[in-house]
Each structure stands twice: as C-alpha cells, then as structure tokens.
Symmetry: C2
Subunit: 281 residues, 2 copies
C-alpha cells in the first residue's frame, strides 16, 4: 500500500496533497487528493468523502471546490478520488463520449467486457481507498461522511445506501438519483453491467430505497438553471422515494444556479457545516 506523493501545498493552515497508488481494485495507477486541516499532534479527524461528476478528476474539486476554509474551521479531512480508472490499457467509450468510459466510472463494479477488468470503482471507493486513507492519514474512520456532485452525487447516495451506518452524513449537489430511468444511466448501466436491469438496481438510489435501503436523512442542493435538471437529474424522483420510505430528505431548489463549480462552491461550506454537526455529535 505504498503511496506516491505527487504534490503538497500548505493551504488554510493545513496541507492539500495529491497522491497516487497502484490500485488492486482497478489494476491501474489511481490518483486522489486529500486535505488535512490544522490539528493537534496525534489527533485523528473525521473523514469527508467527495465523489466528483462526469469528466472530472480529483483536480476539479481540489482547485475549485472552496472546501478548505470550512474543513479547517471544522477539523475535517477531505478526500477526493478520481472518477474512473485511467491508463493505456483501460477501455473507453468507443466514440470517446464524455458520459461513458474514462471520467465516467459511475462508482460501480463492471461485469461486461471490455470494462470488467478495470472499472471497479465501487470496490475502490468502498474498500480499497478507505484502507489507504486509514493507513496514511490522521483519520478517525469511525467518523466518516460522504457527498458528491452529479454522477458523484449518485455515487455518494448509492455508496451510503448500500453501507448503512458507515457514514454519519450523506449529501449531494445536483445528483443523478435514478440512473436506470435517465439517458446517462441508460447508456452507462447496460454498458458496464449488461442488459439485465435487475443488475442495475444496486446502483440506483431510488431503486435501492424502493428495495428497503434506508438513511436517516439526506441533504440535496439543486440549481434551477441546471441544464441537466429535467432530463438527467429529476430530483423529484428522490423526493418521492424518500417520502414513501420516510427518509428525511432536505431538497433545496437553488434559484438561478447551474451545474458548475460556481454552484457547488456556493453551497460547499453549508454542506460541510451540516456534515460537521453530525460528525462531531
């Protein structure tokens, strides 16, 4: 579990690092970023997982997410993984499209060729990377939370729903909530998992909730000027699923905000304060 340090920089009193390692889950080199806030020597800190959206690497949120001030204030480690395996041996969308293949791992373990060998982001995020974080950073793994954006909002919701009790807080910016029913998912899920839709359900937040998965509460912010709102995101489906399951969903429609990091960064401090209240209780 050797870790390569790509870069570190002092920021907001802590250290923003970018790291890489040889992943057993994906059989590729994987990069991720970690912010460790200022802390007392020997202290361990809660860990916030941030899963990014289509086309992103760890760099988008690391550079544009405006999370470090809030993480420093609340004493939170912030972990940002990549969104897919990468490398010369990794299969991509045959047309090079942005919504499948590289940068579009959908946080699942693929079963279809040629994606099955490397596209194992579920195992990577749920099992392998937490062990790396626990081994190399001052992390209190008993206090974790998770959030994400768009495809990463889908990731945050589904990872948390499948692992009840692991995360003390779960939130999302403009998440994909029902990939089985929208174009992004109806391309990616058969591509990675095959045509049998029963295999898709564990990667669909609304389907997981319908099948009995539960979280105590969920926070979602969604911009009303988001160009993907009606076709790809459809947060009303999550609202209906949570209402039926008596999950306490706070869905905030944010007037005039789009799908970009200008939106995410506007509400990042809010989300982290909400996480911190639950991580420190």
């Amino acid at each position: 579990m050797a870790l390569e340090t790509i870069s570190t920089a002092r920021a907001h009193g802590g250290v923003q690092g970018v790291y890489a390692h040889a992943s057993a889950a994906t059989s590729t080199r994987m990069e991720f970023s970690v912010f460790v806030p200022p802390h007392e020597p020997g202290a361990t800190l809660p860990v916030v997982w941030y899963l990014s959206g289509l086309t992103c690497t760890q760099a988008n949120v690391t550079e544009k997410g405006e999370f470090r001030a809030a993480c420093a204030e609340h004493g939170l480690i912030f972990v940002a993984p990549d969104t897919s395996p990468r490398g010369p041996d990794v299969a991509d969308d045959p047309d090079g499209a942005y919504d499948f293949g590289l940068g579009a791992g959908f946080y699942l373990d693929a079963t279809e060729p040629p994606f099955a060998p490397h596209y194992r982001m579920r195992s990577y995020i749920e099992d392998e990377l937490p062990a790396v974080i626990a081994a190399h950073f001052p992390a209190d793994m008993a206090r974790q939370s998770i959030l994400g954006h768009s495809m990463g909002g889908h990731g945050a919701l589904t990872v948390s729903l499948r692992n009840p009790g692991r995360f003390r807080a779960t939130s999302a910016f403009a998440p994909i909530v029902a990939p089985s029913l929208v174009p992004w998912g109806r391309k990616a899920l058969p591509g990675y998992l095959g045509a049998d839709e029963t295999a898709w359900a564990e990667y669909d937040a609304c389907a997981l909730i319908a099948a009995g998965a539960r979280l105590p509460e969920i926070l979602v912010d969604q911009g009303t000027a988001d160009g993907f709102l009606d076709i790809q995101l459809q947060p009303h489906r999550l609202a209906e699923a949570c209402a039926a399951a008596r999950i306490d969903l706070t869905l905030r429609m944010q007037e005039g905000y789009d799908h970009s990091y200008y939106f995410i960064s506007s509400f990042m401090a809010d989300h982290l304060a909400w996480h911190a209240a639950r991580l420190k209780g």
Copy 2:
C-alpha cells in the same frame, strides 16, 4: 464601449461573469471577469481590483481565488483583468518564455518595438477598464481598492503609488517589489522600455517610494516556502523602502506557504476583510 458577455453563472448569491471588449488601449480584444455580489436594486458597490501574476489570465483567480464568499459577505465587486494583450498580431517573447510577452505584460506601457503597439496594460488598467466597469456594472468608483499576486502584486503597488487617493486599500500576495533589481524585471523592463533605467522607475514600487510616492498603508502576505522569494520577490526591499518613507507596511511572512493559489486562497478572505473595512469607512 460595447461589452461581450462570454459567460455568467450564479455564485454565492451574486453573478460571476466573464466579459470581453475591443480595447482602445491595447488595440486587441481583452477579456476580464467581474463578480457582482448580491445587492439591493439600484445600489452601487465598492470595486476591488485584482491583478494576476505571470502566465495567468482572468481565469486563474476566477476559478481558484476563493474570493466570492468574502465579496458576498462584504458587498464588494471583484474585477480580474488579463495580464497582457493577446492575439495573432501581438508580439511575444522570441523564445516563448513564460516571463515576458504573452501573459507577462507587467502592467506598463511599452515603448520598445515590437511591443509598443499592444503592450499598454498601464493605460488599460488605469484608464480604459475603469471606464468600462463604471459604465456596465453597479460600481461606486469613489470607493476602489486594489490587490494582486506576484507580477500582479507589482502591478497593484505601482498603480496605487502612481495614483494617490484613488484606492482606499492596497495589498499584495508575494509581490515583485523591486523589478529593476531582480531577474524577472531586468528582463522585462529593458524589453518593454529600453535600456535607460530612468524609464523603469515608475514601474518599480521601491523606486517610486524612494522618489516620494506615498500610500498610507500596505498589506503584504508572503509565503516562506515560495520558490521565488529570495531571487525575484525580496520583500525586505519593500520593508526598507516603507520604513524610510514612514509608510505603514504590514508584511506577514506566512510559514510554509508557496507561490500558488493554495497560498492566495488561504489569505484572500483576510485581505478582502481588510479592504472592506477601508472601503466602507
């Protein structure tokens, strides 16, 4: 003075825009960004000018500067110009170096061929762009302040020193303070202005102060792990000039910080609060 809107996005309750116009000063198309915070209809707001460093466009600080939350809190318009003229007709460093030519305008009006026709960033920043901002945004031009980073710190200091009374606050991150005496300046100043060093003095903060220019106070943050500190930045020269001139300089050496936007963004909110206190008094 027609303005082209390249993009706008809602952010932190306000609007982050990127704009372009045909500049009379540089005879090129110039891009800049403006953040207008939430405000009452009809209100006018103080204007903070941010001048960027070598290699940057408006985009670096716009994406990585973490200024919007503070500008929204204090009600400040934030303007980020480009760092040089650009375009197919604009001369560049003959070797394409990063520290001269494109992205390296040094906020001066060049007199040497082939740079004189377009490299007129002093006139652009001091005269033309303020008129554009006044015409198109809810700006109270009686309340302006200025800050910048590295080459843009040099720009902020020299623009402010040459225009006493225009800016209610002047600050910088890791500024070039004596370009006449360091390698970056000893390449750029003769390249743009010719070999006669007397022409350089109005573009050298320490030389301006030595010649009698005054500001009531200056705030500077400088990282101790900045790779340019000893050779290019030498803030001790500014400290000596300000001490001799009885200018109230606050020079904060920030332990372990480098020259990057991780450093800038860590102290941006601090600077903007310091500016706001002076802009609102």
